[in-house]
């Protein structure tokens, strides 16, 4: 379509890399910029909704303002975070990875930039409709059907773009990252179309709606966000560290295991729900078996980096990425544990499930994508991050905030769960016990948002103020990096 591989450059990988980066600079930065914008919007709604849940009648919770009430601010936060920040950042990173891995340059940025614009139009119309009271009331599908249609149109363009890159590939081997990305772009378009058709256009009967909604949520996390983040980690860890991926077979296991079990996991959100028992049981089994690919991935990363963890001190992007991969294991393990029936009895309606979602969103996905930003943006712009201390501050603020949040919500959620399961304790008394935990949540949210604002400032600075690196230095950096990436790709073949 618009992409073309430049075969005469095959023998000059460093020049090819530079050409590829230059050709996709505008669309990738457009998606990155959109992601950063939506991260700011999502952060505002995140803070607002965590205050509202703690102190519903205080003035800072805007009591009585319909469009800023908890029931709208909370889905606004989740939708802006997932479809705004996480998805835009993931599309930008995914497209950059696919172009690099396949050695394909983009002929015209027009098509992907239009797709990005359409995506943002869908987001804005969806957010305003949600705040105005047009939510569909389906979790993670709150945007009304017209916004969903616009989003799907953009998504179809993006997936088509991604597949065009793959089909124009010039290299013989298909790398690990590419498996995940091919899966992710196809699955996301498929699941989004299915969910909107089966819930809005030709609505499913009764509880089938709930089944499809939760199937979608499970698939969105396991087969869109997860593969994008893992693809990024599989590329960046060897490229930055210079260490090859330890085992190709483990990587195969990790990928095909995820593809096999990931789509079945959603129904663990509604254990004990009004479904035939096998549907929920299938999800629980899938969630437990999912630990096989998770451990395969974790072992692979660990063994690749073994003995070289000292690098994390100086290589900030690598530090973000590896932290994210560690949290991936924790996120999946927590997910399996709270999906077993005997434990879900106590945890399923509590803050423990919120904690598990945030392990995935904040600690796993976003950590890896932050690392990707810190690595990719300087390459695209040929500039350096101003104030490395700001990046360091971002890392520590979100790590401290995140760890605090996880412990707080786990303990608070368990107390809530045991309270709810004791019929002698009235509901109001259960919620009273949560007070201090909600106060700590406010504080942890503040740390997370402060850290992310540091990231936003750093992104604005490199985009608007930072000057290009001198030509000679740039050339050296480019050639180093090119040889690194060649090595990395060979090593996984």
């Amino acid at each position: 379509m618009k992409e073309t591989a430049i075969s005469e450059l095959e023998s000059h990988p460093e020049a090819a890399t530079e050409l590829i980066d230059r050709s996709i600079r505008v669309p990738v930065l457009f998606f990155f910029g959109s992601g950063v914008f939506w991260l700011v919007v999502a952060s505002a709604f995140y803070l607002l909704s965590s205050w509202q849940i703690h102190t519903p009648s205080a003035w800072w919770a805007f009591p009585g303002v319909a469009w800023l009430s908890f029931g709208r601010a909370y889905p606004a936060f989740l939708n802006c975070y997932i479809y705004g920040w996480a998805t835009c950042a993931g599309i930008g990173t995914g497209i950059w990875l696919l172009s690099r891995l396949n050695g394909v340059t983009l002929r015209s940025p027009l098509f992907p930039v239009i797709a990005g614009l359409v995506w943002n139009i869908g987001m804005i119309s969806g957010l305003f409709s949600l705040l105005a009271g047009a939510s569909t009331g389906r979790q993670l599908l709150e945007f009304p059907s017209y916004s969903a249609f616009i989003l799907f149109f953009a998504l179809a363009m993006i997936s088509l773009w991604a597949m065009t890159i793959v089909c124009n590939r010039k290299r013989g081997i298909v790398s690990i990252s590419e498996w995940y990305l091919v899966g992710a772009f196809l699955w996301f378009a498929w699941m989004y179309a299915t969910a909107n058709i089966a819930l809005e256009i030709a609505p499913a009967p009764g509880v089938a709606q709930a089944a499809i909604n939760w199937w979608y949520v499970g698939a969105l996390v396991q087969l869109w966000l997860t593969p994008v983040a893992l693809a990024t980690a599989y590329y960046l860890i060897p490229v930055i560290s210079g260490r090859p991926i330890y085992s190709y077979k483990l990587a195969l296991l990790g990928f095909w295991g995820l593809a096999l079990f990931g789509g079945w996991t959603g129904m663990t959100h509604v254990i004990g729900g009004p479904f035939p028992a096998w549907i929920v049981t299938a999800s629980i089994v899938a969630k437990v078996l999912l630990m096989i690919p998770v451990f395969a991935v974790a072992a692979n990363f660990h063994l690749s980096m073994k003995g070289h963890f000292g690098m994390l001190r100086d290589h900030l992007p690598l530090r973000f990425v590896l932290t994210g991969t560690v949290v991936y294991t924790a996120f999946s393990l927590a997910g399996s544990v709270i999906s077993t029936r005997s434990i879900a009895q106590f945890t399923q309606f509590t803050f423990v499930t919120v904690m598990q979602n945030q392990l995935g969103l904040f600690g796993f996905y976003s950590m890896i994508l932050f690392g990707a930003f810190y690595y990719i943006v300087p390459k695209l712009l040929n500039r350096q991050w101003l104030f490395p201390k700001l990046v360091e501050a971002h890392f520590w603020l979100i790590v401290v905030g995140f760890v605090l949040l996880v412990f707080d919500l786990t303990i608070g959620g368990l107390i809530q769960g045991f309270g709810l399961e004791d019929p002698q304790i009235p509901m109001i008394a259960v919620n009273d016990l949560l007070g201090p935990f909600l106060a700590i949540q406010d504080f942890a949210a503040l740390l997370l948002v402060a850290g992310n604002l540091g990231f936003v400032v750093a992104f604005m600075l490199i985009l608007l103020i930072s000057r290009p690196v001198r030509q000679r230095e740039a050339a050296i950096e480019q050639s180093n990096e090119a040889s690194e990436s060649t090595e990395a790709e060979v090593s996984v073949a």
């Binding site: 939510s135 699955w187 009967p205 309606f349 399961e421 919620n431």
Partner: protein
């Protein structure tokens, strides 16, 4: 696995399996549900909901009630919902067969609402908790939904729906606080939430 066609094939087949199991299968099978007939009385259950309940469900969705309230009762061996008096039996697929929208929910910061229309039958109770939850109990963590109400001058007879409030929350003399159309249909919907009819697949739990 170096062949890109093998990758595409695997990606479609594996995702397709879950798609059939959790999307296509429920979509087709739940359409086949029928009302249950009580052998003794000949009554059919569940009965469909009035049209206002469907409109009220839209208001329920718009204001995000589902982020704090669930709408399903677990069986006795899966949780203590029945001991908490949220229902006398577990809820099953047939309970929801007429619902245009199903709000199962995943959080219980608030009470389960599967049978709230059984526990509370007075619309005033619902108007009051929506308008000013803190007057019912100071510690309750529910926000107030004041945009579902209007304060207006009393024209002739006071409205039957007017809120009966005392103290600082009460309207000035000659004025009344009444629910808007949205407020009324929402309460209509909440009053319709009753799953207390017998179903053969979910016998009532006896102590």
């Amino acid at each position: 696995m170096n062949k890109i066609t093998g990758l595409f094939f695997g990606v479609f087949v594996l995702f397709g399996a879950a798609w059939f199991g959790l999307v296509a299968y429920p979509y087709l099978t739940f359409a086949g549900l029928r009302q249950a007939k009580d052998d003794a009385t000949g009554a059919l259950a569940p009965q469909g909901n009035p049209g206002t309940a469907a409109q009220g469900a839209r208001v329920y969705a718009a204001n995000g009630c589902l982020y704090c309230h669930s709408q399903f009762v677990r069986a006795q061996d899966e949780g203590n919902d029945i001991d908490r008096k949220w229902g006398t039996r577990r809820t099953v697929a047939r309970d929801y067969m007429f619902d245009r929208q199903v709000f199962l929910g995943t959080s219980r910061l608030g009470a389960d609402l599967s049978n709230v229309g059984v526990r509370q039958t007075d619309p005033q109770w619902f108007y009051r908790i929506l308008y000013s939850p803190q007057t019912m109990s100071p510690e309750v963590s529910m926000p107030a939904y004041r945009w579902l109400f209007v304060t207006r001058e009393i024209q002739g007879q006071p409205s039957v729906d007017a809120l009966k409030l005392e103290g600082p929350e009460a309207p000035s003399p000659g004025y009344e606080i009444v629910p808007t159309e949205e407020g009324k249909v929402l309460v209509g919907y909440l009053l319709s939430l009753k799953k207390n009819y017998p179903l053969p697949e979910a016998p009532e739990t006896t102590e």
